[in-house]
Symmetry: C2
Subunit: 343 residues, 2 copies
């Protein structure tokens, strides 16, 4: 979407967007003329503004108010943001310090990262953990809980753990459980969790195995264990959305919080963001997450040592401080990838 805009029009548009981001109030021609050190009268600015309005880059809430950028304007602004404010050393250190202070486990790190993103941006931090199913199988263990229950514990090479309590119709002695886990550990060696699941299903049809009750039981139990229950998503600083004046309206707020509660749904929609590399910016209606209107999403992928990918970013109002948030998300994604790899 390349507009045929004069340099001056651009500058003015940029000034309006930035003013609006800063104040959340419609900005008028005289404000632009003043702020903008350039020697231009408000009348001239007015002409340009009405032109920009015709192009669909600005709207006015009513005749005698200033003008507000449209989504299109934000998009243009972001695309032409040549001078992505470099992230300062101080801020970098801040991020590093905060991301490090958590425990060593992946979930802890990710949760803390989400917190950090939120508190540094003042918007909502979001982190989607690397999908467990595409992670590589490490080990499976069975632990007998009571007489008819077995706890299956599945561990991936990233150190992610998934456990599942499985009901069994007979009491399985610990010895058998041990043999079962040995067999399965052999079977799933080196596969991803989802491959392992496929292997299990295939093996269940294997005739030789069907006659071995121990093996078939092992497969049945493990099949349940590898059937993963949704990935994790860390949404931190939700309350910060309330600081934004555009969400002071109760109805809009309700919409957003409802959406935040539907983490499962969100996860699905976010998976789209994981396909491309680099920072992804979704403005307003471009946002895959259906969080009512007026929100933007900035994300970037990060990768774990064994190449599974996760997503991290920030959710805020369309009127978001793009110039600071974008480099922040970018840097954080790189940082997390690096932190995870330095073992």
């Amino acid at each position: 979407m390349n507009f045929d805009l004069s340099a001056r029009s651009r500058q003015i548009l940029e000034a309006i967007v930035e003013d609006y981001i800063a104040t959340a109030e419609p900005v008028g021609s005289s404000a632009v003329a003043r702020r903008h050190a350039l020697t231009l009268s408000s009348a001239t600015v007015r002409n340009v503004m009405s032109h920009l309005e015709e192009m669909g880059l600005l709207t006015s809430p009513h005749t005698s108010a200033g003008r507000i950028p449209t989504e299109k304007a934000y998009r243009f602004y972001v695309d032409s943001l040549v001078g992505l404010r470099q992230i300062s050393r101080e801020e970098k250190n801040n991020i590093i310090r905060r991301c490090r202070q958590s425990g060593a486990g992946l979930p802890e790190i990710l949760k803390e990262t989400s917190r950090t993103l939120s508190s540094l941006s003042n918007y909502v931090g979001i982190v989607v953990a690397p999908s467990f199913t595409s992670d590589i199988f490490r080990q499976i263990e069975f632990i007998r809980i009571g007489t008819h229950r077995v706890l299956a514990i599945l561990v991936s090479t990233n150190g992610l753990v998934q456990n599942r309590l499985v009901e069994t119709n007979e009491d399985i002695p610990e010895n058998d459980l041990l043999r079962m886990s040995n067999y399965l550990n052999e079977l799933m060696q080196g596969l991803t969790i989802s491959q392992a699941r496929a292997r299990i299903l295939a093996e269940m049809k294997n005739e030789k195995v069907q006659y071995d009750s121990m093996m078939s039981r092992a497969l049945q139990i493990s099949e349940q264990a590898v059937t993963t229950g949704g990935d994790e998503i860390f949404l931190e600083g939700q309350a910060r959305i309330l600081d934004q004046p555009e969400f002071s309206d109760a109805a809009r707020m309700k919409d957003i919080f409802r959406a935040f509660e539907q983490k499962g749904q969100m996860l699905q929609l976010l998976s789209r963001c994981m396909n491309a590399d680099g920072v992804q910016i979704y403005i307003g209606s471009e946002t895959p997450v259906s969080l009512s209107a007026g929100v933007s999403l900035i994300t970037s992928r990060f990768i774990t040592p064994n190449k599974t990918v996760g997503l991290l970013g920030v959710i805020g109002p369309t009127r978001m401080g793009y110039s600071t948030v974008i480099p922040m998300v970018d840097y954080t994604a790189r940082l997390v990838s690096r932190l995870l790899s330095e073992t």
Copy 2:
């Protein structure tokens, strides 16, 4: 707090409380006289009301509005609620069905229970998982993740799992890990997690052990594993609080959501509720959770088969449908205890 109230005064107070609960609007004398089938004029009711106001049971927002119950009035209302509406069979089945539909694991059940409490009450559902530390140790396992990391997995007899990634300064071969876990499993047999932690700390001071590098390393690692990171708390249906007219104000809303985000703090405060048996009712400022003003908390304990206790309940506005929520919480707590024990 036994007030010296005539039967009539009581009836009127009850009518006002119920009216206010239903409408969230100040209730006037004529409304009471009407609703109240009793043959009383509004003037008489007015006299009684002004008496009740003197006693601190009612207030009026301004002279020409109706009156609003104070916390004291709710307390009185709840205490003298003789006819706790019996929970209907249909509703019972509803609860049972919903609590059952989750997986077999304790966390899944509890999360679903919290959801159920929320959706049936239309307030916020809250469930505090039984403390891991007071649960009985079942087994510890070590899994080697990379060269300098060991994943410690701790399982309790309730089937709760806690895992922790521990950094080691040397590479420990799998064989050693197995010996270590055998030693520890022996050591902690039959103890609660917190006792196990004490045992580990004691054992570390044991001279004989200090000279055995394998043992002392095992103790070091397991010490980290048993240092539990806060218990779990399931807060579901937070967005429902937005349906309450008294929270349509942005500032109050922010307060509440901030409090909801501080789950750790909440947990501490809630531990007070776990000491007494039966349904606990905290009205307004009695609430241990410091969620700004105007909220009430209704909780009850539930117990797991091995006698650890958890907490479950509902958070809502002071103007809460006590007569339906109280029996609901009561029933749900009993039900969960039963569901957990029927293995």
